[in-house]
């Protein structure tokens, strides 16, 4: 069992080209880096390559690491960039609808004009949670890279807004609008699925 080193100790050893520190770094971060890469690329093969490239890059670039951010943020940033590079090589995903189009239809008075099904509280025998998990995974892969990256860092990985902004070099406003629209898109995909499964008839225009 490798000992977990403190970040500054780890950085100093890595900068001294200590390969045992690289092992400690891998033990500490390999699962997070792989998980993040897997969610961002949505592809096991790509995630494996990202994983390898990230640790090599970290070891090669650690000399230039000045500690302006946390070591973990720096590693996530390298991971995110490597994963997004893979995504950009693939055919472009078409744009997702605007936020207003992803919410319920409104009357001119600004009131909801159609029934909204609350599938969040349905028991497992009515709406299988495991199925729902698979659906959101598929839906995540439909999100264009700009949206997927914010949703993955904030909602999947649970990073703070500040950390996600830093990793993606985004303003708070840009992060907010992409995150919200990304969530609305995922919600809509799940809602369409839930409604089709449960046979609840939400009316002519379901949301």
């Amino acid at each position: 069992m490798a000992v977990t080193l403190q970040d500054d100790e780890l950085i100093a050893k890595l900068q001294a080209r200590d390969e045992s520190a690289l092992e400690a770094l891998m033990v500490q971060y390999q699962a997070r880096v792989f998980g993040l890469a897997l969610r961002l690329t949505g592809n096991r093969q790509d995630a494996e390559e990202v994983l390898q490239d990230v640790f090599l890059a970290v070891f090669q670039k650690i000399g230039g690491f000045r500690g302006d951010s946390k070591l973990s943020s720096w590693i996530y940033r390298i991971t995110t960039n490597a994963a997004l590079m893979k995504l950009r090589k693939r055919p472009k995903v078409k744009e997702i609808p605007l936020a207003e189009e992803l919410g319920p239809a409104m009357t001119d008075e600004g009131m909801i004009a159609e029934p909204v099904v609350d599938w969040s509280r349905l028991p497992n025998d009515e709406l299988d949670r495991k199925e729902l998990g698979q659906r959101i995974e598929q839906a995540m892969n439909l999100l264009p890279a700009d949206y997927r990256s914010v949703v993955v860092l904030r909602d999947v990985e649970g990073l703070s807004e500040q950390e996600a902004c830093e990793i993606l070099s985004l303003s708070e406003a840009a992060l907010k609008s992409r995150l919200h629209r990304g969530r609305l898109f995922l919600r809509k995909q799940l809602a369409d699925y839930a409604v089709s499964q449960t046979g609840v008839n939400p009316g002519p225009q379901h949301v």
């Binding site: 390969e19 390999q30 969610r39 609350d118 969040s120 909602d155 969530r183």
Partner: protein
């Protein structure tokens, strides 16, 4: 009076707990009377929860080994080998 449209516009801030308490209370008052908005917020939050469940925390053993052998190969090819060093010493290059 809050309309559904206002709820839609404040949804993100509400979920992220960024609203001033009085605004948040007004929004909640609307939710108490509006099953549509309540359902929408519940399913929005549920979507966030399901996203979080996608976080994967383990890495297969075989992949860990692959990573190590990749790193080993890369590091040893980046560094001159014993034979390279010997050869250059013998040939004086």
């Amino acid at each position: 009076m809050f309309r559904c449209r206002d709820v839609g516009q404040l949804l993100y801030e509400y979920v992220e707990e960024r609203l001033e308490p009085p605004v948040s209370q007004q929004l909640e008052q609307h939710l108490a009377d509006c099953p549509g908005c309540l359902a929408f917020i519940n399913t929005y939050k549920q979507t966030m929860r399901l996203s979080h469940e996608l976080r994967c925390d383990d890495i297969p053993q075989e992949l860990q080994q692959k990573l190590r052998s990749f790193i080993k190969t890369k590091l040893s090819s980046a560094r001159p080998s014993f034979w390279d060093r010997l050869r250059s010493r013998l040939t004086g290059t």
